[in-house]
Each structure stands twice: as C-alpha cells, then as structure tokens.
Symmetry: C2
DNA sequence: TCGCTAACCTAGTGAACACTAGGTTAGCAG
DNA sequence: CTGCTAACCTAGTGTTCACTAGGTTAGCGA
C-alpha cells in the first residue's frame, strides 16, 4: 500500500481525483452506464461532493472530453510532423505518423474508449474533436501524398483514399488493443509501425 | 405513403417490427440510451406488447445480436473465400476479401454501430461474435500470407501483423462510413477496394 | 351474427436515477 | 486553545426507468 489515502483533499486535488475516476468508469461503462453513486464510491466520497466540483454529470463528462482534446493538441509533435510532411522523405514522414497514431491508441486506451462512446452517442464534443484533430491530420497526409504523386514518386491514386487507407493500417491495431484485446498488441509497436509503413510505401511507389 | 399501417399485426410480423425498430434505436442511442417507452412508440404499440414478445429489454437486445451473428455466417461467401485463399491468386483472394469487408460495413451501418456499442459495453455476445467471425477470418488470411511467404512471393513479415494491417485498410473506411460520416464514403467502393488491394499486394511482394 | 382468442390497452409498481437542502467536522490561522 | 471555513456528510427530492396486473377489442371461423 502506498501513502495512506488522505480522506480530506484540497479542491484541486479532489477535482483531479474525480476526473480520474470518471475517466476510468466512463471508459468502461459509458456515460449512461455510469452512476453518480458509483463515481462517488470510487473516490471514497459522497455524491454531493461531486456536485461541488461539477454542476451536472454531463458537465463532468464534457470537462473530460475537453481536457483530452487539449492534451492531444501537442504543438511540438504537430510541428515536427508538419515539417516532415513538407520534405520528400516519405519514409520518415510516414514513420513518424504511424508511431504517433499507434501511440495515441496505446498510450491510454481509456480515452480511446471514451471517445468511441462519445462518437457513437453522437456527442457534439466528439464531432469537434474529430473535426479539429482528424481533419488537420488528413490535410497533412493528403498534401504530402499529392506532392509525391506530382513528383512522380507515388502512383496516381486518390490522396484521401490512400491517406485513410494508411491511417486504417494503424488504427485497426489500436482499436483491437483498446477494445477487443485489452492491453495486447500482436507484435511490438516498432514492428507494427515498420511493417505498415513498408507495405504502404512500397505499395504506393510508382513503378520507376 | 406505402400501404396504410395495419394497426393489429400477427405475432411474427409484430415481433419483426419490434426487432426492426430496436435495431434502429439501439444503433443510434445504445442499449442503455434507449427506453422501452421509445421502443413502443416507434412501433405504435404500448409497452406491454413488447413484453409479450421479449421477456426483458436485454433479451430483445440479445435476440438482435444473435440474429446478426447468424446472418453474417454466410456459408457460400465463406466457401468461396476459403477456396480463393487456397490458391496462389492473391490478387483475387484479397480482392474478394476487401470487397466482403467493406460491404459488411456499408450494407447496414446500424448493425456496425450496434456491435460497437456491444463491444464497448463488454457484452458477452460481442465476444462470441468476434471470436467466431473475426478469428476465422484471420485464420484464413494468415494462412494464405504464410504460404505466400514460404513460396517466396511475399516478403517475410509477421502474418498476423500483415493480416490486421490489411483488414484495417478497409475497416477504417467502413468505420468512418458508419460512425463519423454517415452514409458517405470518400470514393466508390470499387476504388477503395482496388486502391487498398494494390497497395497491400505491391507492398508485401518480395523484391524478386 | 355470434363467440372466441390473439392482439392490444390503461394504469399502474417498486427501484434506481441525477441531483439537493441543510447540517457536521477536520484542520489550519491566530 | 479557539474560531473559522473549506471539505464533507446524512437523508432526502421528484423523475424516469423497466416491467406488470388485469381489462378491452379487433377480426376471423363457424
């Protein structure tokens, strides 16, 4: 046992502990499948304490989604991806991209499940999430593919179809990891990334 | 307006109409997000009628999942896939596979969403579904890949990694179609299939 | 036309839910 | 040690849920 659980926490710490428990429970049972009673029990507090930090259950849910959206907005990563996309080093660009994609799923499957619940339930913050994060992602990839096609290095394919096809190669492994086989990839991350990137780049290269 | 809605239906027809409405509602709002009141209203009946056909809401849900599982078990399709997998015509095998995969998603997105809800909620019938349908699928694909590697036509890659990578190429398009962009693929089914198959086969081919 | 039965309804039940009014206490400042 | 306040609690509220007891009617066979 680590430090004995302090029963009375300052507001910020209590709020954080609620968010953490909520991520865990919402990701396992979904929004509707989680009761405020369970939520309170998981934090070793009573229900009214929840409501001192979040006006409603839905506001707690939205706070989590919003926090995740901000956490995913990593200017450093985005910048290095954008830089790599601008070069002709497709191997490096798609390598970075694939690793970032797979990492996104593997890093915290709870959030992946949370976002899938949100997407299925048609939550508006899910739309926002996918519009900003995913749309920017595809813009980058289709741009790179388009330039490589123009330069004659890639075969002439529909860039969006190709981009989604590539994303799917990694997303599928990630989905299996976070939903169907919790915590288990069928190979090392590096192996999956290099296999996918190799197949994609050899497959899309023009027959010189 | 088609035929005027007969208010009083024989048992079999009423049961079918309930299942149909339930597939629609469960796929949109999930199991917990759908109330028996809504369900009854969607069928223009009262709640007790539901319970004359299905003992509980959960039994109705399971009846739908079970029906879908049986519907997906298509001996004809399975046989022709198995036959193609046994040959060395990878182009044909992966073409058939890709078309079947994408069709599975596009044919009725309601069921796709239903199964995703079930998977997220950890329903045991979802496990059963994926064990039977998906496991058999991967067995077929890894077998073919393994043989092609042994014959020197494919590069030596991990067959399961490659199989999942291929499945992901199409599953991702299907997922986007059924969840994020309802009813809209970014290209024709044939274009997506041929792009994915071309990239995969060129990408996995050994450098002769 | 009449009677029978399958199909359907009204009008509830207790339980579980999100949320709250109002009181209690831990623990720090002085 | 005392008093103050942020943190927490007990004990509910009204609402909505899945589900039901018991009665009504459509519509077909004879």
């Amino acid at each position: 046992m680590s430090a004995p659980v302090k029963t009375r926490l300052p507001a910020a710490a209590r709020r954080a502990s609620i968010v953490d428990a909520a991520v865990e429970l919402f990701s396992q049972r979904g929004f509707r499948g989680t009761t405020t009673r369970e939520l309170a029990a998981a934090c070793n507090i009573s229900e009214p304490v929840l409501y001192q930090h979040f006006e409603t259950k839905r506001i707690l849910y939205e706070a989590i989604l919003e926090a995740k959206r901000e956490q995913d907005h990593r200017p450093g990563m985005e910048e290095s991806l954008r830089a790599a996309a601008g070069t002709d080093d497709s191997q490096r660009f798609f390598g970075l991209l694939a690793a970032a994609l797979l990492d996104w799923y593997v890093q915290d499957p709870r959030y992946v499940r949370l976002l899938m619940f949100a997407a299925l339930e048609g939550h508006e913050l899910s739309d926002l999430f996918f519009q900003r994060t995913v749309a920017g992602f595809y813009e980058l990839v289709t741009g790179h593919i388009q330039r490589q096609i123009a330069a004659g290095r890639f075969r002439p394919v529909d860039p969006l179809v190709a981009a989604r096809t590539f994303a799917g190669m990694l997303a599928h492994h990630g989905t299996i990891y976070s939903i169907y086989c919790p915590g288990h990839l069928c190979a090392g991350k590096e192996d999956i990334v290099s296999t996918a990137v190799d197949i994609f780049l050899k497959g899309i290269a023009s027959n010189e």
